[in-house]
């Protein structure tokens, strides 16, 4: 992988004052980059739906019967000078494009109740995937080429080549509907049975029962990615001089791995968990759709059919904002734990 990683160019620090402190400079630089990315997304999100040839009104009303009065209102709104529209949007990017067309509610009112299911699903799956993935990666990378590694690497490579929603559908058909001798054991969708109070312990159990298949699906797909990275990272560390030194001191293999190689190899993998949020978001969208969980992902699929443009724009902004923020956190953490990157 050495070819694939860009080594940061060392620049001589010439500045003075607080700016001379590399940590401060690094943090300010990364934050500035994140803000510039978000501004780009804001502008992109606005103009994408307007600079294309054709009438934006047609895009906002595509696939729906809209009464002439609403069309006139929309025309009055969308045919104003573009600068004026942009100012209104910039003042409130989430609701600046108007209410959701499909739900006839403000975009925020539609999105808010969908936040929790997504966080619950994605959070649980990421946590499980990280733990198992890191463990798999360490074990197979440290004993590279042995049977465990061969089986684990080949399995993860196959999982890595799999569309996550397809794996979800197969899980559903096997474990929820039942196939051959296997009876249907799990619910086919949703977050809880209708009429169940999810604030009681019995209700939590019901939710856990419903989440079992989607969380397993997502976790299996995510852990393939994490274990591949962890494996590459541990292989890289295993060849380093300090590991050789630790061995030469006569430390047991287990100690060398736990005390020396793993702490160093963990760092890139941990930041990757944050950096990968974009990939995680993609998985959530299709998995929620397949398992009919009413989170942000299902809402996105709902918004693109129609399409419900204001809702779609708000969701795009929300997803991008979350990923940009997670990237910034990853950058800052990396800079804190590994001073070498603060050049």
């Amino acid at each position: 992988m050495a070819l694939l990683t860009e080594t940061p160019a060392r620049t001589p620090s010439a500045a003075a004052g607080g700016w001379a402190n590399p940590s401060v400079r690094y943090a300010v630089k990364r934050t500035g980059a994140a803000i510039s990315t978000f501004i780009f997304v804001l502008i992109f999100n606005f103009f994408l739906f307007r600079i294309l040839p054709g009438d934006p009104v047609a895009l906002y009303t595509r696939g729906r019967n809209v009464d002439p009065e609403s069309i006139r209102a929309l025309e009055a709104k969308l045919h104003r000078p573009i600068g004026q529209q942009f100012l209104e949007y910039a003042r409130n990017p989430f609701t600046g494009n108007g209410p959701s067309v499909k739900y006839n509610q403000s975009v925020w009112e539609v999105i808010a109740p969908a936040l929790w299911p997504t966080l619950l699903l994605v959070g649980t799956a990421t946590l499980i995937a990280t733990i198992i993935g890191v463990w798999l990666g360490i074990r197979s990378g440290w004993n590279r080429g042995e049977r465990f590694d061969v089986i684990s690497s080949n399995t993860t490579l196959v999982l890595y080549s799999m569309p996550e929603f397809w794996f979800g559908m197969i899980m559903l058909i096997v474990f929820a509907v039942g196939i051959g001798p296997i009876p249907g054991m799990f619910p086919t969708g949703g977050l809880s049975d209708p009429g169940v109070d999810t604030s009681t312990p019995a209700g939590w159990l019901n939710v856990a029962w419903h989440l079992f298949l989607p969380v397993t699906t997502l976790a299996v797909i995510y852990l393939a990615e994490y274990s591949l990275i962890m494996r590459a990272s541990i292989i890289e560390e295993r060849g380093q001089d300090y590991v050789q030194t630790a061995r030469a001191k006569g430390l047991m293999d287990k100690m060398v791995r736990r005390q020396h190689a793993v702490p160093n190899a963990l760092l890139p993998t941990m930041t990757l968990v944050f950096l990968n949020l974009g990939f995680v978001v993609g998985g959530a969208i299709t998995i929620e759709y397949v398992f009919s969980i009413h989170g942000l992902g299902s809402l996105t699929v709902d918004a693109l059919q129609g399409p419900d443009v204001p809702l779609l724009q708000a969701l795009f902004l929300l997803f991008s904002g979350a990923v940009i923020f997670a990237n910034l956190v990853a950058d800052l953490l990396y800079g804190y734990f590994d001073p070498r990157v603060r050049t």
């Binding site: 294309l52 196959v158 569309p163 292989i235 974009g278 978001v281 993609g282 969208i285």
Partner: protein
């Protein structure tokens, strides 16, 4: 890089012109590459799988249109696999085997075409932003950073919604959303190539920017582009499957993703029609796996450090 090392052929060809030397050297490195690839078992496995699917896609041109027309098929819907229907039938009685074979065409076509577009943008942006250090390079680099961070699927969904559903549009959507990784990689390689003495020599001899990028940088980043291309095709095919599954593909074309979409919408899950969903999915997994295996084999050959690590 294997390509820059002087070889015996160089010495023998010293009497010939410079162009012949270059030609001989490239041929030698191609031969070396082919020989190493032949010895890479997983790479050869990937290539075999890929060739089988390409053969299937070509054979699918001979499927009569009537056997895929819902109004002209006579079989019962949701028939499980049997001798007559090796992979069962779909919700309107079409053979899943024929559907999947036909789907190979669009899936491979979109996979290749989108990757070409993505590689073209990524390589150009990477080389230009690595070559010009001033404003141009900085702006392009920033631009790459922005696109790298924006989550892929939401971006693709928004673009596909705005552009509308068609074969060309899905290629454009995948192409313009997947280039930043390549640009990053190529930029880093360009920076390291630009630092080499022979580029300074070429500059001293009066080579223009275009000549430097085209004649010196590009041939040096090409092996990397090649390795990246095979890996990128796998991502393009997965993206096509996902976007088609979400209903953003060409509504008239049959691809593995659109078969899955139709199966899901027709209730194949509650019908227990596993063959309907399993077949296109397995095709996707095998094809993507094939490209991943080939890509990794190329990477291993180009970067021998990995083997000894």
């Amino acid at each position: 890089m294997t390509m820059t090392q002087p070889t015996i052929e160089d010495a023998n060809a010293a009497a010939l012109g410079a162009r012949d030397v270059v030609k001989a050297r490239r041929k030698a490195s191609r031969t070396r590459f082919t020989a190493s690839f032949r010895q890479n078992r997983s790479g050869m496995l990937g290539l075999t799988i890929l060739l089988i699917f390409i053969a299937v896609a070509i054979a699918a041109f001979f499927i009569p249109a009537s056997s895929l027309d819902v109004t002209q098929v006579t079989a019962d819907p949701f028939l499980p696999p049997s001798l007559q229907w090796p992979l069962g039938t779909d919700d309107s009685g079409r053979s899943v085997l024929l559907l999947v074979a036909k789907g190979a065409q669009i899936s491979l076509l979109v996979g290749f075409a989108a990757t070409m577009l993505s590689m073209f943008i990524g390589t150009s942006v990477g080389i230009v932003s690595g070559h010009y250090r001033g404003m141009t390079g900085g702006v392009l680099d920033r631009f790459t950073d922005w696109f790298l961070v924006i989550p892929y699927l939401p971006l693709a969904i928004v673009l596909a919604t705005v552009l509308g559903r068609s074969l060309l549009n899905i290629i454009i959507v995948i192409g313009v959303t997947s280039w930043p990784g390549t640009a990053r990689l190529i930029r880093a390689q360009t920076l390291s190539v630009t630092a080499r003495p022979y580029l300074e020599r070429s500059k001293a001899l009066g080579a223009g920017n275009l000549h430097q990028m085209w004649k010196h940088v590009l041939p040096n980043v090409m092996p990397l582009v090649l390795a990246n291309t095979t890996l990128a095709v796998s991502i393009s095919i997965l993206s096509e499957t996902t976007l088609s599954f979400l209903g953003l593909g060409d509504p008239t074309a049959i691809s593995w993703g659109s078969i899955l979409e139709q199966g899901f919408a027709a209730g194949a899950i509650s019908q227990g029609a596993w063959w309907y969903l399993a077949a296109p999915g397995i095709c996707v997994v095998l094809t993507v796996l094939a490209f991943n295996l080939i890509g990794r084999a190329i990477e291993d050959i180009l970067d021998p450090r990995q083997e000894t690590a």
